[in-house]
C-alpha cells in the first residue's frame, strides 16, 4: 500500500511539473505539415523541368521552366536571373502572370532596399556553352571578377562557379525543385487542412515550393534563425542522423521553449551561411515570408537514390521548403565571412545606429508595479552605485492591456515619473503590442474598426483572437496606410503620458494569438491586397516593428533615433531596432544556448540582440544569475528581465558579495561602452556584427568553426562564458597566431592553443588580442548619459612586432546628424614606438560634431620594460611612464605600464613617442 501511495504521489508530482513544459503537441511537426511531408519524401532527380527560351530581357536573364517529357501538364514557370554589385546573384521563379493564374503569388515588399535595386548590373549578353559531360547547353553570365553564374538547361540547374570551373553554390543540383502552381479547385476536391481543433480552409489549395541548395567546399553551415540550437547547424537527415525535424522557420510564441531544438520560435531569417577552410564563406537567402522548413542533409543522404552527382566536389546539401510565395533567392559569394554579411545587409539593410543609451544596461521585470516601485528600484541602483540607463514597464502598466494608456491607479503621474528618471539621464521603455482590445470605448479599437484596419478572418470579418486583453483584433500592418496611422499614435500628443525620454517595446508580434492554431493567427486570415496570412506570416512582426520605429521617428521629427525592441523578426528587422531571444528560462543550458542564438542573429544581420539576463522563467541560482550578468555584459543588447512569478532579482538582493559581482559585471559593460559604440557604428556601415563567432575573425582556423561557447566582441576581445555551476577551471581556445592578454590581470597567453585556466567567481575569462587598441571610459556614473564628457583610457596590447591598431567612433549618441558627417572617427595605431591618432572620418557633408574629451590614461601591454618616459606631440610634453592599475577596481591589483595624463583630445591628431 505504502509503495503504491508513494508511486502515485511521484506520478502526481511529475504531472504537476510537466504542466510547465513545452507543449510539443500544440505545434505541427513536418509530418503534420502536408507540404513538408511531401517535399521530404521526394526523391533526388524527381524534378523534370528544363530551362527553355533563355533570353536577355530588361537586363535580366530570363527563361521558361517547362517539363521535359511530353505535353506540359502545367503552365511554364518564369525564371529570372539578375546580377547586382559585389557579384550578388538573384534568382526569381514565379508563375507567368500573362497566363492568368487564379491569384498573384505574394512577393514580400519593403524588405529589399531600393538602393540595392539600383546596383543591378544590366546583363547584355549570355554565353552558351556545353559544360563537361552535359548533353545540352548551359547559359553563362558574368557575375564579378572570377565568378560566373550558370543556368544549365537540361536538367534545369542554377549555379555559381569560379572561372576555373569550381562550383561555389548551386540550386536544384539534386533535382528536388518543385513548384505547386495555383489552380482551380476540381469537383469534390477538399483543400482544407485540420490541426487539432483548428481548420485551415486553404481556399487557394496547395502552392508550396521546395528545392535543394548546395554549398561547395563547406565544412559547416550556419544561420537561419531563430532556433535554440548550436551555431554550426547539425544535419537533420542522413545516414548518421537520428530522426530530426527540419529547421523550422515559423514565427511562434512558444511557451518555455527548449534549449536544443530545431523548432521555430519568434523570428525567421531564411539566410544560410556556409564556411569551409578551403572555400571561404558563402550565403544563400530566400526572401519568403511563408512557413519554411529547411533540412541540412548529412553526407550520404542521397545514397539510396544511387545517382551520380553533377559535381564531385565536397559540399553540404540542403533542402528548402516553403508553403507559399515565390522563389526570390540571393546567392552571396563572400569569400570572407564579413563579406557575406556585408553583401546580405546590402540587400536587406544595415543595422540602424542605436541610441547611445540603448547600448548600456537595461533593467526590466514583468512588472514594475507602480510609480513607487519604479522610484524604489531606481533609487536602489543609486544606493548601490550600480549604473543603469533604462527602466522598463511591461503590460501591467496599461489600463487593462490597452496600449498607449496607463493604469492610473498605479501610474497616476507618468510624465513626472519619466522626468524623474530623465533628470538622472535615464530613460523609460513601455510595451506596445499588436493585439488591440476589442472594447468599443478604446479609441484605438474604435478607429481601427471604423477604418477597417484589422486583419480579416476567412469569412471577411475582423479577426477576433485572444491575447492579454482577452478578445482582441490585430492591425493589418502589411498595409502602408495602416502603418502610417499607427506611427502617428506615438506622437507626444497622441500617446498621453509619454515624454521624449520614453521608448518602445514590441512583444507578441509573431503574432501571438492564445486561441489560434499553434498560438498564432489562422493561415487563411486575410490581409491587405488579398494576401493570405500564410503568405505573410513570418513578416507580420517585422511590419509592426517597422511601423513602431516609424512612429518614434515621426515623434522626433526625424531627429531622434528610434529605440524599439521586438521579439518577432524577419530579414531587415535590423533597420528598426533591437531583438531579444524571447522567453528563455533560468537554467544553465539557456545561458549556454544564448551565445549561439545571439551569434546567429548577428550573422544574419541582426546585431543589436541579446537574451534576458537571468532567464525569464524560473528563479536562477545566485551563481547562475551572476554568471549571466558576466556574460550578458557582452551581449550587444544587455537587459535583465524576469517573469512575474519569479522572485525579485535586482542585483542588490543577493548579499554584498554578489551585489559586488553583478555591479562589476555591469560596470565592465560601461567601461567598454566606447568600444561597443564604435562596433555599432561598424555594423551600421558594413553589417558586420558587434558579437561575432570566432571563425568570423579567424576563418582559416578550423578549431574555431564549431566553437560557440566563446565569441568575439569586435575584432579585439574574446569572451569565454562559464556555463556550469561551481566551475573552477575553463578550457579556453585562443585562436590565431598572436598572443592574448587577460583583461583582468594583463597576463599574456599564447594563441592557437587551448588553455586550461583557473576560474573564480569574480569574472568570466575575457582576453584582448595582441595587436589591438581598445578605448575605455573608466569612470562610473549613474548612467551612460553622465559619461559624455569623461576622459578616455586607451589599452594598447602590442603584438609580437610591437604594433597595434584600434578605432574610436563618437557622435552625439541620439540624432541622425552623423549621417551628414557629424562624428569623430579616429584610428589609433602603435608602430615604431609611437602611438598615433589619425582621422578616418569621411569628409563631412555639412554637419560637424565636436568633443573636448581627452585621453587621460594610456595603458601599454607587451611593451618591453625599460621605457621610462614618453613625448607628446604637438607640444613636446614629456611624461613619465609608470606602473599603474590595469583596472580601477579596488579588488583588482594588476598593474600595467601607464602613460599618465597625456590629456590629448580625441578630436585631434597627435602622436606620443615612447622614449
Amino acid at each position: 500500500m505504502a509503495t503504491i501511495r508513494s508511486l502515485l504521489l511521484l506520478l502526481l508530482f511529475l504531472l504537476i511539473t510537466s504542466v510547465s513544459s513545452w507543449k510539443k503537441d500544440e505545434f505541427r511537426n513536418c509530418n503534420q505539415t502536408p507540404f513538408c511531408k511531401r517535399a521530404r519524401s521526394r526523391n533526388p532527380r524527381s524534378c523534370s523541368l528544363i530551362a527553355a527560351d533563355v533570353a536577355i530581357h530588361n537586363g535580366d536573364l530570363t527563361a521558361k521552366l517547362v517539363p521535359k517529357n511530353g505535353e506540359p501538364i502545367e503552365k511554364p514557370l518564369i525564371l529570372k536571373l539578375s546580377v547586382y554589385k559585389d557579384g550578388i546573384l538573384r534568382v526569381r521563379v514565379d508563375e507567368d502572370p500573362n497566363l492568368g493564374p487564379p491569384k498573384k503569388r505574394f512577393e514580400v515588399p519593403d524588405v529589399v532596399l531600393e538602393e540595392f535595386e539600383s546596383t543591378k548590373l544590366w546583363l547584355s549578353r549570355v554565353l552558351d556553352e556545353v559544360v563537361d559531360g552535359d548533353e545540352g547547353m548551359s547559359s553563362v553570365v558574368y557575375l564579378s571578377s572570377g565568378f560566373e553564374a550558370v543556368v544549365r538547361r537540361d536538367p534545369f540547374e542554377v549555379y555559381v562557379r569560379r572561372k576555373g570551373g569550381h562550383r561555389v553554390l548551386s540550386m536544384n543540383s539534386n533535382g528536388l525543385f518543385d513548384f505547386e502552381q495555383l489552380r482551380e479547385k476540381k469537383e469534390g476536391e477538399d483543400w482544407a487542412e485540420s490541426f487539432r481543433s483548428h481548420t485551415d480552409s486553404r481556399p487557394y489549395g496547395p502552392q508550396s515550393i521546395s528545392f535543394d541548395v548546395s554549398f561547395y567546399g563547406a565544412n559547416f553551415v550556419y544561420g537561419i534563425p531563430e532556433h535554440a540550437t548550436a551555431l554550426a547547424l547539425s544535419p537533420t537527415r542522413g545516414p548518421d542522423v537520428e530522426f530530426s525535424e527540419p529547421y523550422r522557420l515559423f514565427n511562434l510564441d512558444v511557451f518555455e521553449y527548449l534549449h536544443d531544438s530545431p523548432f521555430g520560435i519568434y523570428g525567421s531569417i531564411p539566410l544560410m551561411l556556409s564556411h569551409g577552410k578551403g572555400s571561404g564563406t558563402n550565403g544563400f537567402f530566400w526572401l519568403n515570408a511563408a512557413e519554411m522548413q529547411i533540412d541540412v542533409l548529412g553526407k550520404g543522404w542521397d545514397a539510396e537514390a544511387g545517382i551520380a552527382l553533377p559535381s564531385s566536389q565536397e559540399r553540404i546539401d540542403t533542402l528548402w521548403m516553403s508553403e507559399a510565395g515565390i522563389v526570390d533567392a540571393f546567392f552571396f559569394l563572400g569569400p570572407e565571412p564579413k563579406d557575406v554579411v556585408q553583401q546580405y545587409t546590402s540587400v536587406t539593410g544595415r543595422p540602424s545606429m542605436p541610441q547611445h543609451f540603448a547600448t548600456a544596461y537595461h533593467q526590466c521585470r514583468w512588472n514594475y508595479r507602480d510609480e513607487e516601485d519604479v522610484e524604489n528600484v531606481d533609487s536602489k541602483f543609486d544606493e548601490f552605485d550600480i549604473p543603469y540607463d533604462v527602466l522598463w514597464l511591461d503590460i501591467d502598466h496599461t489600463n487593462g492591456k490597452r496600449y498607449f494608456t496607463w493604469d492610473r491607479a498605479l501610474f497616476p503621474h507618468p510624465e513626472e515619473m519619466q522626468k524623474k528618471l530623465a533628470d538622472k539621464g535615464r530613460h523609460m521603455v513601455t510595451i506596445v503590442d499588436p493585439h488591440i482590445k476589442r472594447d468599443d470605448d478604446y479609441y484605438i479599437h474604435k478607429e481601427a474598426t471604423n477604418n477597417g484596419y484589422y486583419v480579416k478572418d476567412s469569412s471577411g470579418r475582423d479577426y477576433d483572437g485572444w491575447c492579454w486583453p482577452g478578445s482582441s483584433s490585430y492591425l493589418d500592418v502589411l498595409n502602408p496606410e495602416i502603418r502610417s496611422w499607427w506611427a502617428d499614435k506615438f506622437s507626444l500628443q497622441n500617446y498621453v503620458g509619454s515624454t521624449p525620454s520614453l521608448y518602445i517595446w514590441n512583444d507578441m508580434n509573431e503574432p501571438s494569438v492564445f486561441n489560434g492554431p499553434e498560438v498564432t493567427m489562422p493561415r487563411d486570415a486575410q490581409h491587405h491586397g488579398g494576401v493570405e496570412h500564410r503568405e505573410v506570416h513570418n513578416a507580420y512582426g517585422y511590419y509592426f516593428h517597422m511601423a513602431t520605429a516609424d512612429g518614434l521617428l515621426k515623434r522626433g521629427e526625424g531627429n531622434d533615433r528610434p529605440f524599439v525592441l521586438s521579439r518577432a523578426f524577419f530579414p531587415g528587422s535590423q533597420r528598426f531596432g533591437a531583438i531579444w531571444t524571447g522567453d528563455n528560462t533560468a537554467e544553465w543550458e539557456h545561458l549556454r544556448v544564448s551565445v549561439p542564438m545571439v551569434l546567429t542573429l548577428g550573422l544574419t544581420g541582426i546585431t543589436f540582440s541579446g537574451a534576458d539576463v537571468g532567464g525569464f522563467f524560473g528563479n536562477p541560482d545566485t551563481e547562475l544569475l551572476v554568471r549571466w550578468y558576466q556574460l550578458g555584459a557582452y551581449y550587444p543588447f544587455f537587459r535583465a528581465h524576469a517573469h512575474h512569478d519569479t522572485k525579485r532579482r535586482e542585483p542588490w538582493l543577493f548579499g554584498d558579495h554578489n551585489t559586488e559581482l553583478m555591479r562589476d559585471a555591469i560596470r565592465t559593460r560601461y567601461i567598454l561602452l566606447p568600444y561597443f559604440y564604435t562596433l555599432f557604428r561598424e555594423a551600421n556601415t558594413t553589417g558586420v556584427p558587434v558579437m561575432r563567432p570566432l571563425w568570423m575573425e579567424f576563418p582559416a582556423d578550423e578549431a574555431t568553426f564549431k566553437n560557440d561557447e566563446a565569441f568575439m566582441v569586435g575584432d579585439s576581445i574574446l569572451v569565454q562564458g562559464i556555463y556550469t555551476a561551481g566551475a573552477k577551471h575553463a578550457s579556453v581556445y585562443l585562436p590565431g597566431g598572436q598572443s592574448w592578454y587577460d583583461m583582468k590581470t594583463g597576463v599574456v597567453y599564447k594563441g592557437g592553443v587551448a588553455h586550461k585556466l583557473g576560474v573564480s567567481d569574480d569574472s568570466i575569462p575575457a582576453f584582448q588580442k595582441a595587436g589591438t587598441i581598445i578605448p575605455r571610459k573608466d569612470r562610473f556614473r549613474r548612467s551612460s548619459t553622465q559619461m559624455v564628457n569623461d576622459p578616455y583610457t586607451l589599452v594598447i596590447a602590442l603584438d609580437s612586432s610591437l604594433e597595434a591598431e584600434g578605432e574610436l567612433y563618437v557622435d552625439d549618441g541620439k540624432s541622425f546628424e552623423f549621417g551628414q558627417g557629424a562624428y569623430i572617427h579616429r584610428r589609433f595605431s602603435f608602430k615604431n614606438g609611437q602611438v598615433t591618432s589619425t582621422n578616418i572620418a569621411a569628409p563631412s557633408s555639412g554637419k560637424t560634431f565636436s568633443s573636448n574629451c581627452i585621453i587621460d590614461r594610456i595603458i601599454l601591454l607587451g611593451l618591453p620594460s625599460g621605457s621610462k618616459s614618453a613625448l607628446v606631440e604637438p607640444g613636446s610634453h614629456k611624461l613619465n611612464i609608470e606602473s599603474g592599475p590595469l583596472n580601477l577596481h579596488a579588488r583588482s591589483s594588476s598593474k600595467a605600464l601607464t602613460i599618465r595624463q597625456p590629456n590629448v583630445r580625441i578630436a585631434d591628431d597627435w602622436t606620443i613617442k615612447i622614449l
Binding site: I4, L7, C467, G470, K647, S850
Partner: protein, 599 residues
C-alpha cells in the same frame, strides 16, 4: 546637456595645471572629511590599501592612482572613491565619486558640482530646517512612544503574572476535577455493565424461545448454515467493513492520481470500474509520465471553446486561472497537488524545532473545534471598521470567565453533586434504577465537558506563555490581537504569533502561519501560507517601527506571493534610539551658528 563651452574653459585650466604645473599646488583638500585631513598632510601619501603611493601633487589631480580612490577624494577619477560634502546647516554627506561633476546636484551645498558647468544653489539651510523639523517630530513621537512602551511592558508583566497564576490554579483544579470525573466514570461504567448484563439475559431468554420455535420449523437447513452463530457474524461484519474502507482508500488515491497501471491491482472490486476506464483512456499511447501530463492537458484543450482556449494559453504565462470561479477551484486543486511537498515541509519543521509540529496541531484543534465560526462573525460584524481588535482567541477567555471567576464555588458544587450522586446511587441494585443511571451519565457528561474545557484553557495558556514576547515582553499584548489594513478590494489581517491572511469578499487566502521574529525583534515573519500557482508558498514579512498606535500599513507584494507590510507600534520606541535621535538633533543644531557666520 552640459554646455561644452564651459567645460572647455575648465579643461584648459585643468590641462595647463596638470601638464605644465607638476610643481603647482593640488586642488586643496576637496572632498576630504575633516577627521581625515591629517592623513593627507605628508608629501608622499600612501594609498590606503597599500597598493601604491603618490605625491601630494597627485592628490585630487583628476587622475586615479590608487585603485581604492585614496588620491582622488575630490574628483570623479576613481570609481570606488568617496566625496565628502560639508553641507553646513545640514548634515555632512559622503557621496560616491561617480556623483562628482556629473551635472546632478547631490550635496545641498552644491560642492559636488564645482566643475560640471551646472550651478547648484546652496539649499542646506532650508533642507536642514526641514530635516530638523522632521527629526523633532520623530523625537516627539519617540518620547511619547517610549512612555507608552513602558506602560505596555508594565501591563504585560502583570498580565503574565496573572496568566501564570491562573495556569497554576487551573492545573490544580484540573487535578481535582480529573478525580471527580474518574469516579463518575467508574460509577457510570458499573451501571452500564449491570445494564448490559440485564440486556443480555433478556436476549438469551428471547433467543431460547425463538430457537425452540425454529427447531420445529426449519430442521433441514441446519446442516448447511448452522455454524453461523452470533459470534461469527459480528466478526464477519467487521471484516467486511474494514475491507470496504481499504477499497475506498484505494479509490481515493486513484481519483487523485487519475492515471497509472498500478491501479489494476484494485480492479476486482465493482467500485473501481469507472477508475479503470479513466486509466485506459489516459495511458493510451503515452510513453513517459511527463508525456502523459502533456496529453492530459492537450486532450483538454481540444474540446475548448475559442475563448476558453485563449484563457488557458494565456494562463500559462500569467498563472491566472481560466475558470469562471477562479479562486476556489484553483485553491482546491492546489491543495490536492501539494500534499506531497507539504508533507516534506512539515517533516522539515519537526527537525528544526521539535515542538513546533505539536504546536501546530494544537492550534489546529482550536481552529476546528471552537474558533472558526466565532472568528468570522467577530470580524465581519463587530470589528469592520477598526484596524485592531482582540483576536477571536480571546473568546476562549471570555467563555471561561464565568466558570473561573467563582471557581471555588463551581468546583465545590461539582464535587458536592458528584459526592451526593455517588452516595445515593447503588450500583449493585438490580434491576438498575433508570433515573439514577441518567443522573450519573448527565453528571459525568457535564463534568467531563468542564474538564475538557479546563484542559483546553490550560493548553492555550501554556501555548501563549511559551511565546517569545520580546526581551521586555513588550509584544505580549499582540498575542490576542489582530491588525487590519484595507487596500482596494483586499483586507489584510495580521495576527502576531498566529497567522496572517488576505481577505477578498468571502474568500480568505492564508499569507502565512507565524514563523518567528527576526532582526532583533524588528521583523515578524509568517511563512508557509497558501501555495501560489506556479510560485512559492505565500509568506509575509512585517517590519515594525516606532509609532504611537498599533497600526498596520503599506502592505505590498514585491515578488509574487511574497508580501511585506509595516506595523507601527509603541513597542518599537526604544529609549536608546530616542537618545540617538536627540544626539543627531544636537549635531544638526550645532551646525547652525556656522551657517550664520557664513551669512
Amino acid at each position: 546637456m552640459k554646455p561644452n563651452l564651459s567645460f572647455a574653459v575648465i579643461l584648459v585650466v585643468f590641462c595647463s595645471n596638470s601638464i605644465f604645473g607638476s610643481a603647482s599646488t593640488p586642488r586643496d583638500f576637496l572632498g576630504i572629511p575633516p577627521q581625515d585631513l591629517e592623513y593627507f598632510k605628508s608629501d608622499v601619501i600612501k594609498c590606503r590599501d597599500g597598493s601604491n603611493k603618490f605625491a601630494k601633487a597627485q592628490l585630487n589631480d583628476d587622475f586615479c592612482d590608487c585603485a581604492d580612490g585614496t588620491d582622488e577624494p575630490g574628483t570623479p577619477a576613481c570609481p570606488v572613491g568617496k566625496f565628502y560634502c560639508q553641507n553646513a546647516g545640514h548634515v555632512p554627506l559622503l557621496l560616491f565619486s561617480s556623483r562628482v561633476n556629473d551635472g546632478i546636484c547631490d550635496c545641498c551645498d552644491g560642492s559636488d558640482e564645482y566643475d560640471s558647468g551646472v550651478n547648484c544653489p546652496n539649499t542646506c539651510w532650508e533642507a536642514g530646517n526641514v530635516a530638523r523639523e522632521k527629526l523633532k517630530k520623530k523625537i516627539a513621537t519617540f518620547q511619547e512612544g517610549v512612555s507608552k512602551r513602558k506602560l505596555e511592558i508594565e501591563q504585560a508583566k502583570q498580565a503574565i503574572t496573572k496568566d501564570e497564576a491562573e495556569l497554576s490554579k487551573l492545573k490544580k483544579e484540573e487535578e481535582i476535577l480529573k478525580e471527580v470525573v474518574q469516579q463518575l466514570k467508574d460509577h457510570k461504567e458499573q451501571i452500564e455493565k449491570a445494564e448490559e448484563k440485564e440486556r443480555l439475559e433478556k436476549e438469551r431468554e428471547e433467543k431460547k424461545k425463538k430457537e425452540s420455535e425454529e427447531k420445529i420449523n426449519e430442521e433441514h437447513k441446519q446442516s448447511t448454515e448452522g455454524h453461523v452463530d452470533d459470534h461469527h457474524e459480528t466478526i464477519g461484519e467487521l471484516d467486511e467493513h474494514s475491507h470496504e474502507q481499504e477499497i475506498a482508500e484505494i479509490k481515493d488515491e486513484l481519483a487523485v492520481a487519475d492515471t497509472d497501471d498500478i491501479a489494476e491491482h484494485a480492479t476486482d472490486d465493482h467500485g473501481t470500474a469507472k477508475v479503470e476506464a479513466d486509466i485506459s483512456h489516459d495511458t493510451e499511447g503515452s510513453a513517459s509520465p511527463e508525456h502523459e501530463g502533456e496529453q492530459d492537458k492537450d486532450v483538454n484543450t481540444e474540446g475548448l471553446s475559442k475563448e476558453e482556449l485563449g484563457r488557458l494559453v494565456a494562463s500559462r504565462w500569467t498563472g491566472e486561472n481560466t475558470e469562471q470561479q477562479p479562486k476556489e477551484v484553483s485553491e482546491a486543486k492546489e491543495e490536492k497537488h501539494e500534499e506531497n511537498p507539504k508533507v516534506d515541509d512539515n517533516s522539515h519543521d519537526e527537525d528544526d524545532s521539535g515542538y513546533s509540529s505539536g504546536m501546530d496541531e494544537e492550534n489546529h484543534k482550536y481552529d476546528e473545534d471552537e474558533m472558526d465560526g466565532d472568528m468570522d462573525d467577530d470580524i465581519d460584524q463587530n470589528h469592520v471598521d477598526s484596524s485592531t481588535y482582540d483576536a477571536p482567541y480571546s473568546e476562549d477567555h471570555d467563555d471561561f470567565s464565568d466558570t473561573i471567576s467563582d471557581s471555588p464555588s463551581w468546583l465545590d458544587k461539582i464535587q458536592r453533586t458528584a459526592r451526593n450522586i455517588l452516595q445515593a446511587v447503588n450500583v449493585f441494585r438490580s434491576p438498575v434504577d433508570t433515573s439514577d443511571a441518567a443522573r450519573v451519565r448527565k453528571e459525568y457528561d457535564e463534568s467531563s465537558a468542564k474538564l475538557s474545557k479546563l484542559r483546553s484553557r490550560i493548553s492555550s495558556l501554556t501555548q501563549k506563555l511559551k511565546q517569545d514576547f520580546g526581551p521586555e515582553k513588550e509584544f505580549y499584548s499582540f498575542y490576542d490581537r489582530c491588525f487590519e489594513y484595507k487596500e482596494n478590494k483586499y483586507t489584510y489581517k495580521v495576527c502576531p504569533f498566529k497567522q496572517a491572511s488576505q481577505v477578498e469578499g468571502h474568500s480568505t487566502t492564508r499569507l502565512g502561519n507565524w514563523d518567528k521574529v527576526e532582526d532583533s525583534y524588528k521583523v515578524m515573519l509568517f511563512s508557509n501560507g497558501d501555495r501560489c500557482w506556479n510560485g512559492p508558498d505565500r509568506s509575509l514579512k512585517v517590519r515594525l517601527r516606532c509609532g504611537l498606535k498599533n497600526e498596520l500599513a503599506d502592505v505590498d507584494e514585491p515578488s509574487r506571493c511574497e508580501y511585506v507590510a509595516v506595523l507601527s507600534t509603541p513597542a518599537l520606541c526604544h529609549e536608546e534610539k530616542l537618545k540617538e535621535l536627540q544626539h543627531k538633533l544636537d549635531l544638526l543644531n550645532s551646525e547652525q551658528p556656522r551657517r550664520h557666520e557664513e551669512l
